[in-house]
């Protein structure tokens, strides 16, 4: 698995890789501005170093600067590969064990002193919630400093190539994440009282009411009257034998590689977790030309939106509900995963093991709020608000409302009253709601030649189809955004509903080339077919229907980045054909034989940073430890680079397995910093660009 995505059906083309650098002596190429980790993945390199404790292979895990498992030595300096841009001629070496500090002994230059910046509201996180809040606050006349650690606005929206749900008016439903930021932030340039600092990391909150920000290469203290933490969420992790192998990481890291950096990070991918994040990541993988071998979900039913699930099923991805990951295997890097059926207590059922050959496994088992800074701010007595996923995990559309409401609430609290419309609270709550009831698909044929089929059978908060039909023929009878839309009236086959439906759940049926044929207009977000191709047609849920032929493919700028595809099918199948297979069934087949030559240690790593195994944590708990802080001291779990962000929940789960209820565990103390920061940045001495010897 290696290479770059040279043509993506949704994303714009990227610059060619023209920056030369070396890794372990080999000359490689990076794209301008690309980070080391992505350039290495593009070259097929997944092992970046060796852990000092046991020599375990290290590579990408968070791809977000939060852990230090992608540590490499760049021009002699230990750096996080995912946060360090490649520069021409850079010599990168694997980090083998503890890094040796380079002898850069020239005295530091002059230091820069800064005044404390005063601002009405400091917003941490320029995702949908942070941007929406800053717009409201600026309209209220307050000064706002909006900061984000990434190089561009939008937070995780910039990784989301798919269209979002909700309503067009309330939250730009139907817009792709990558395009949503621009709409949300459209007013920012005209609001002079909002300053935006990108590449800026909030590292701690202090007793004098200041928040420490590392802005690119400078350390700045800001004293806000109110702090809004809208820092989003991070992915939960799982612990199972082999989970530490390079090639296993979160869906967010995957989207960073594939959608931000357009690196074809895998050939054959497996996914754990059937929430929206896992389902969407699978779809993104297929768009990147990566085979999705399967997806397991421990619950009997997929938790994400049915439309996301159906997209994968139609394209040919096997979905294994009531299945769990048992182990990952491979010599130094991931080569196989073993899954098994699980019972209603999530225990694997013996004899149901299946082995799949894959090179990459995505962990998508839920999100946790990023709230370390909130805890510090609370302790420091700073007036604190939270919005978006930092307050409650939900869709981006809900984060927009959460941000708007937080913005107005803060404005009011700071003396510039901005009433929150009651409807906002309601809309926000609706957008946060879990998927509701599912109904059987209504296959009644309307008495007319052209009509849309709405395969929208689950109650989710979404209604853009009702807002785009030029004839007003699609509506929701009871007016509720979570109810299902219905068609009544006539259809022009204009395709607007097809191109806007975030769930790809609308198609238009029209007369075919002969009385026993029909044409079905489908949305298509891939490149792999051309007019004349024969395809295996499937129904909404991916069950095989028959053979169809691609009659025409229309690409136009006003189709939301989608192609409109006309599929010629037998008339008898016109109501059920909802798509066609992209991926051959063989891709998702397990291996026939179990390979017993597994090198995987049965005792899983729980704390990846310090490579602490489950047995060590169990032994500590059985020795009577109920104070997480003592557990840290004795095992070193949660003492590493990420500060326990990844393993804390896993350790708490082990406490529970061992019969210690979480409420009886003394929680780990959270102290600055939120992430590791170079000493010279904090000292205000970062005056040297080039390493000196």
């Amino acid at each position: 698995m290696s290479g770059r995505i040279t043509h993506h059906p949704i994303l714009p083309p990227t610059e060619p890789a023209t920056v030369s650098f070396t890794f372990d002596g080999k000359t490689l190429q990076a794209r301008p501005g690309e980070v080391i980790s992505s350039a290495l993945y593009a070259a097929g390199i997944r092992t970046f170093g060796r852990h000092p404790k046991d020599g375990g292979p290290q590579g990408i895990f968070c791809a977000n600067g939060q852990c230090s498992q992608c540590l490499v030595i760049a021009d002699g300096r230990p750096v996080k590969g995912c946060m360090t841009e490649v520069i021409e001629g850079m010599q990168v070496e694997p980090c083998l064990g503890l890094p040796v500090l380079p002898s850069e002994d020239d005295p530091p230059g002059a230091t820069i002193d800064h005044e404390v910046e005063e601002v009405d509201v400091l917003i941490i996180g320029a995702g949908p919630a942070g941007i929406s809040a800053s717009v409201e606050l600026a309209r209220a006349g307050l000064s706002v400093l909006l900061v984000d650690d990434k190089a561009e606005l939008g937070g995780k929206l910039s990784l989301q190539t798919h269209a979002f749900f909700g309503s067009i008016r309330a939250c730009h439903a139907g817009t792709r994440g990558i395009n949503l930021t621009g709409k949300l932030a459209a007013d920012l340039p005209s609001l002079p009282n909002v300053r935006t600092w990108l590449k800026t990391t909030a590292i701690g909150a202090f007793v004098d009411g200041t928040v420490g920000l590392v802005r690119d290469k400078t350390y700045v203290l800001v004293r806000p009257r109110a702090l809004l933490v809208a820092a989003g969420a991070r992915e939960k992790s799982l612990s199972f034998p082999g989970a530490d192998l390079p090639g296993i990481y979160g869906a967010g890291a995957f989207q960073t590689l594939v959608n931000r950096d357009q690196v074809r990070a895998a050939d054959r991918l497996f996914i754990v977790g059937g929430g929206n994040v896992g389902l969407i990541a699978g779809y993104h993988a297929l768009q990147a030309g990566i085979d999705v071998v399967g997806l397991v979900e421990a619950l009997p039913k997929i938790g994400g939106y049915k439309v996301h699930l159906d997209k994968l099923r139609r394209l040919g991805v096997p979905i294994w509900t009531s299945h769990t990951i048992l182990r990952a295997e491979g010599n130094e890097e991931l080569e196989r995963v073993v899954v098994a059926e699980c019972d209603n207590r999530f225990q694997p059922v013996p004899g149901t093991e299946r082995i799949f050959e894959v090179d990459t496994l995505l962990i998508a088992v839920g999100l946790s709020p990023v709230n370390e800074l909130s805890a510090m701010a609370r302790e420091a007595g700073i007036t604190l608000y939270e919005a978006g996923d930092s307050a409650q995990i939900a869709e981006a559309s809900a984060a927009i409302f959460s941000g708007r409401i937080a913005g107005r609430t803060i404005a009011t609290d700071l003396g510039n009253p901005m009433p929150v419309p009651q409807q906002w609270e309601r809309t926000g709550a609706v957008l946060r709601s879990r998927p509701g009831k599912q109904f059987p698909l209504d296959l009644t044929e309307p008495d007319q030649p052209i009509f849309p089929v709405l395969s929208c059978v689950e109650e989710i908060p979404c209604n853009p189809c009702t807002q785009v039909c030029p004839l007003g023929s699609i509506s929701i009878p009871d007016g509720s955004i979570t109810s299902r839309p219905v068609f009544s009236g006539s259809c022009l086959a204009c395709g607007r509903c097809v191109s806007i439906c975030p769930g790809l759940a609308i198609r238009i049926v029209m007369p075919g080339t002969s009385p026993d044929r029909a044409l079905v207009m489908l949305p298509w977000e891939f490149d792999e077919v051309a007019p004349g191709d024969e395809v295996t047609t499937v129904d909404m849920e991916g069950n095989e229907v028959g053979i169809g032929r691609v009659q025409a493919m229309r690409r136009r700028d006003d189709q939301n980045g989608r192609a409109m595809l006309l599929l010629d099918v037998p008339k008898s199948e016109r109501m059920v054909v909802a798509g066609f297979r992209l991926q051959a069934p063989e891709e998702g087949r397990p291996l026939d034989e179990a390979d017993e030559s597994s090198e995987t240690d049965d005792d899983p790593i729980v704390c990846r940073c310090e490579r602490v195994r489950k047995s060590e944590i169990v032994a500590a708990i059985r020795s009577g430890i109920t104070d997480y802080n003592v557990l840290k001291a004795v095992t070193r779990a949660s003492m590493g680079g990420c500060g326990g962000k990844t393993c804390r929940e896993l350790v708490m789960r082990i406490f529970r397995e061992e019969g210690v209820e979480p409420r009886d565990v003394v929680p780990a103390t959270i102290r600055p910093l939120t992430t590791e920061i170079r000493l010279d940045l904090l000292a205000g001495l970062a005056d040297d660009e080039e390493p000196k010897s």
Binding site: P108, G204, Y219, V630, V634, A683
Partner: protein
């Protein structure tokens, strides 16, 4: 309720080793602690440096005992406390300090301390990359070292458990019962524990505990802040103390070392004490301490800070601990006011207090130990090397 030979109040730097040494003499020992586990107060805020390099004779001798305990712990108990025998180095850049320290070295050597003045090249060997301009040399005491405070309290707890020490956590002490000029029980929020003897090792809370027995323990906490980096390969042997005041006008000395894990752990002494029990992080600590670090050792610029914290120094008016039996209350003993050095003094204090409580005299020279007595003037004297 069974009666205990000793109730130790406070499972911290002093209490944990004290309970262990008392139990080793066969006593029935109970430890009561307000926090949920051992070492969760100021103990874990210590940076873990252990030196016998002091100017005060009592501290020299007590810390030598501590060093013996820490350095032999793994061999004796099979539990690694993160001991690193890297010594302490005080690099010197000005003539006056050179003279002061050279004079002190002579005195320290007389008390049996393994310490010497070394030249600039030797300092540069031990602390590679140290600012060479103006470096005159420094003192080096090779037998000093570093220990993980996190592991030490756990090590003492395990050894204590093995000897039958009982631990009661989450039990703040609410009263000390004194009858007929004799201590007879410790009362906590949960129970009353009859005891023949009580050792108060309550660190920053000593004053309040003392008041329960009607004695005035003049202990007032102030705070110091510290931090730790991500690990790198070992390159600094000794713990380094720069005695110069900072050019920023806010710091007295500062010190740092590389622990057994390879992490640099660092701290400074504020010029003006931050009196009180506030342990929340200050905004000035990181910019100031990183400048001092990079000015002295520029190559640290490539390291990353991982975490900072603030700990309390339970200060006495004269900066000297109080380790004594309390006249007029039989059975009441105190080992408090460690002035920020409780971690390095702890094991030695534990050994000496055990001896004071059971044998009526300390292990070290009683005349020297007498400088720690409760009944003293507390007028600030001159401690050349705090």
């Amino acid at each position: 309720m069974p009666s205990y030979d000793v109730v130790v109040i406070g499972a911290g730097s002093v209490g944990c080793p004290s309970a262990y040494f008392l139990a080793r003499r066969g006593l029935k020992v109970l430890m009561v602690e307000s926090r949920p586990a051992c070492g969760q107060g100021q103990n874990k805020a210590a940076i873990g440096g252990v030196r016998a390099t002091h100017s005060d004779p009592a501290k020299i001798q007590i810390c030598r005992q501590s060093l013996d305990v820490f350095s032999s712990w793994k061999e004796e108990h099979g539990f690694d406390l993160g001991w690193k025998k890297g010594g302490y180095c005080f690099p010197v850049y000005d003539e006056r300090l050179e003279q002061t320290l050279k004079n002190l070295v002579e005195a320290q050597q007389r008390y049996g301390l393994n310490i010497d003045w070394v030249d600039a090249d030797r300092v540069k060997d031990m602390v590679p990359g140290i600012e060479p301009r103006g470096l005159r040399g420094g003192t080096f005491s090779p037998d000093d070292g570093q220990v993980s405070p996190l592991l030490a309290s756990e090590g003492f707890r395990r050894a204590g458990v093995a000897l039958g020490v009982e631990y009661r956590f989450n039990e703040p002490v609410t009263d000390l019962v004194v009858e007929s000029s004799r201590i007879c029980a410790v009362v906590t929020t949960k129970a009353r524990y009859p005891a023949k003897m009580v050792l108060v090792a309550a660190g920053a809370k000593a004053k309040a505990i003392g008041a329960m027995a009607g004695i005035n323990l003049p202990v007032t906490p102030d705070s110091h802040e510290a931090g730790i980096t991500a690990p790198v390969a070992q390159f600094i042997g000794p713990l380094v103390v720069d005695l110069r005041p900072g050019p920023e006008g806010r710091t007295a000395n500062f010190y740092f070392g590389q622990n057994n894990e390879g992490q640099i752990i660092f701290c400074y002494t504020p010029k003006k004490p931050l009196v009180g029990e506030d342990r929340r992080p200050t905004s000035e600590f990181l910019p100031i301490v990183t400048r001092r670090l990079l000015t002295l050792l520029p190559r640290l610029r490539n390291m990353v800070v991982r975490r900072t914290w603030r700990g309390l120094y339970p200060m006495t008016p004269d900066g000297v601990p109080i380790c004594d039996r309390i006249e007029g209350i039989d059975g009441l003993f105190v080992a408090v006011g460690m002035c920020g050095q409780g971690f390095m003094l702890g094991p030695g204090i534990g050994m000496n207090m055990t001896s004071v409580m059971l044998d009526g005299h300390p292990e070290i020279d009683p005349d020297v130990f007498a400088s720690l007595r409760y009944d003293r003037s507390y007028e600030a004297g001159h401690e050349a090397l705090k």
